[in-house]
């Protein structure tokens, strides 16, 4: 038996480049292994057709009850919000699936940093969410007649990326909560709707009673969606910059809380041995 590499105790330095490599590959593997919508048919139904109908429903609803806001208001709001399917439901599910697959224990026993394990879950979902938004926009362009004249495309993509990242922070927090409780589906669905209600998707945030408006500003998407609406009307970076910073801070905030909760759960499971991580 010539097992050269099985013996080799390579003492090489794990550089920052290696760590980045591990991070990105980990994101791809976790996506591949735990993503429930990889079957094309299911993907199309759940991530394309479903969201498109959401855009249609609210656009017509808005046209009837709030004509003064204009069609684009609803189209943009919903086209961006549908990314939450990936950034909330997808991210949360990937995190919780580790427990149901039985691999969480294996993961926690490796020397990989908890932050790396946790945060890499969201990467592919951010890209997936972005894709959903783009599909929503293309559909709206073709069939609902929104116009992209005056749009700074690069700024648009960057803004969307930030908005989706920010939402994924919330998704990671929910995933962490899901590791502790049983019914994660319920929480994800509820959050999806909360975003619809609070983030100025189908009506300006000012329509809400004042105590609810406070919550809107603490949620992702609120500022991001506003920024996108402005960009489609020709706004440049200086105008939307404050909105983008707001979103980034919110995203980082939720990610950190999710990470802290994750570490706490890790510690608690070691301490009490009662969390069903098996």
């Amino acid at each position: 038996m010539n097992y050269e590499y099985l013996f080799k105790k390579e003492d090489y330095k794990v550089t920052i480049f290696h760590k980045l490599e591990f991070f990105f590959r980990g994101a791809i593997y976790s996506y591949k292994s735990l993503f429930a919508w990889l079957v094309p048919k299911v993907y199309i139904l759940t991530k394309v057709i479903g969201p498109i109908f959401q855009i249609l429903f609210f656009t017509f609803l808005g046209q009837y009850y709030a004509k003064e806001l204009g069609r684009e208001f609803f189209i943009i709001g919903n086209a961006v919000q549908i990314s939450a399917l990936s950034s909330i439901n997808g991210v949360a599910m990937t995190i919780v699936s580790e427990r149901t697959e039985g691999t969480l224990l294996q993961l926690l026993g490796t020397p990989a940093s908890r932050a790396r394990i946790f945060v890499s879950r969201s990467l592919m979902h951010i890209i997936d969410g972005l894709l959903t938004v783009i599909i929503g926009f293309i559909f709206s362009y073709l069939f609902l007649g929104i116009s992209f004249k005056n749009t700074n495309y690069i700024l648009l993509v960057v803004t969307l990326l930030i908005a989706v990242f920010s939402t994924s922070g919330l998704g990671m927090l929910i995933g962490s909560i899901g590791l502790a409780i049983r019914e994660i589906n319920l929480l994800s669905n509820l959050t999806y709707f909360i975003l619809l209600i609070f983030c100025g998707i189908n009506y300006p945030v000012t329509n809400l009673p004042s105590f609810m408006q406070g919550i809107s500003n603490l949620l992702p998407l609120t500022k991001g969606v506003e920024a996108v609406r402005m960009i489609l009307q020709g706004a440049n970076f200086t105008t939307v910059a404050p909105y983008l910073y707001h979103e980034i801070i919110i995203g980082v905030f939720y990610t950190l809380i999710g990470l802290i909760l994750f570490k706490c759960l890790d510690y608690y499971s070691r301490y009490s041995g009662t969390l069903d991580f098996d």
Binding site: K41, V42, L45, T46, I49, G50, F53, Q54, L56, F57, F58, F60, L61, G62, Q63, Y64, Y65, A66, E183, N185, L186, N189, L190, F193, L196, I197, N202, Y203, N207, L208
Partner: protein
């Protein structure tokens, strides 16, 4: 008949234990209601709140029947009890009718909840001008939706492929049946689709009797179409049931589909 009621009771017990179901039936319609009401400004709210409440109630009913009919069969299939149900003396149609009726009746709950929400949260005074007619239309709608549920159930028993469609069947129906807004604002080519859905007519009738402004001719017309469609649905579902019986006896593949 008793059997059906008994089955309906068991259904109810089994159902209320699922959190996701509770969300879809009770919370989701209210969320839609809230969004719709937030969209409107003051004067619009006074005028349209009742319609929104009715719409939300119907959303709950439809979601309930869709979700339970579909996942019920799936669950039975997973537990391996599907063959037992198909094989037992009580005709499959009665069993499923019992289930469908329950699931449909639950819609009344979401209607009630929507009403309370509008009353408390948005301080809207909601009046139903013709309560008796309202109840009549409501009952007809419930039966109609139950019939649709039976069709969905049978389609599910026959083929696994229908499953994927479940998730995407909520919104299209909300749209096409004009639950939250009248179908006039939809493009003309969708009209035929809206017309074959009994909910469209039922919703129309509900709106008429609650607001009180309508012509009896118009109302009767909607009612009649509603009845005819319901009848057709029932026929369709009975026919599908026969196919199920035949298939299960011939091919014995019911559980594995």
């Amino acid at each position: 008949m008793n059997k059906i009621i008994h089955i309906a009771k068991i259904q109810l017990v089994m159902r209320t234990t699922s959190q996701l179901w509770r969300f879809i039936i009770f919370i989701q319609p209210i969320l839609y209601l809230m969004m719709t009401l937030f969209m409107m400004n003051g004067s619009m709210r006074t005028q349209y709140s009742m319609d929104a409440v009715l719409g939300a109630g119907m959303m709950g009913t439809w979601s309930s029947i869709l979700f339970s009919s579909g996942s019920d069969i799936d669950r039975e299939r997973r537990w391996g009890t599907l063959e037992m149900i198909v094989g037992c003396p009580t005709p499959l149609s009665s069993i499923i009718m019992g289930k469908a009726l329950t699931n449909s009746l639950v819609g009344l709950f979401s209607m009630g909840l929507s009403y309370i929400t509008a009353l408390l949260l948005f301080r809207q005074q909601l009046v139903i001008k013709h309560p008796c007619l309202f109840m009549l239309v409501l009952i007809l709608i419930i039966i109609s939706v139950a019939a649709k549920g039976m069709i969905i159930c049978t389609l599910f028993t026959l083929s696994r492929a229908v499953r994927g469609l479940l998730n995407v069947m909520e919104n299209p129906i909300f749209l096409l049946s004009g639950l939250m807004f009248p179908i006039v604002i939809l493009p003309l080519w969708t009209r035929p689709l809206s017309y074959i859905l009994s909910l469209t007519w039922g919703m129309d009738a509900l709106r008429m009797v609650s607001s009180g402004t309508f012509s009896y001719k118009h109302f009767l017309f909607s009612l009649v179409i509603l009845l005819i469609l319901t009848f057709l649905y029932l026929l369709l579902s009975l026919w599908l049931f026969q196919i199920i019986e035949k298939k299960s006896r011939k091919e014995a593949t019911l559980g594995v589909y």
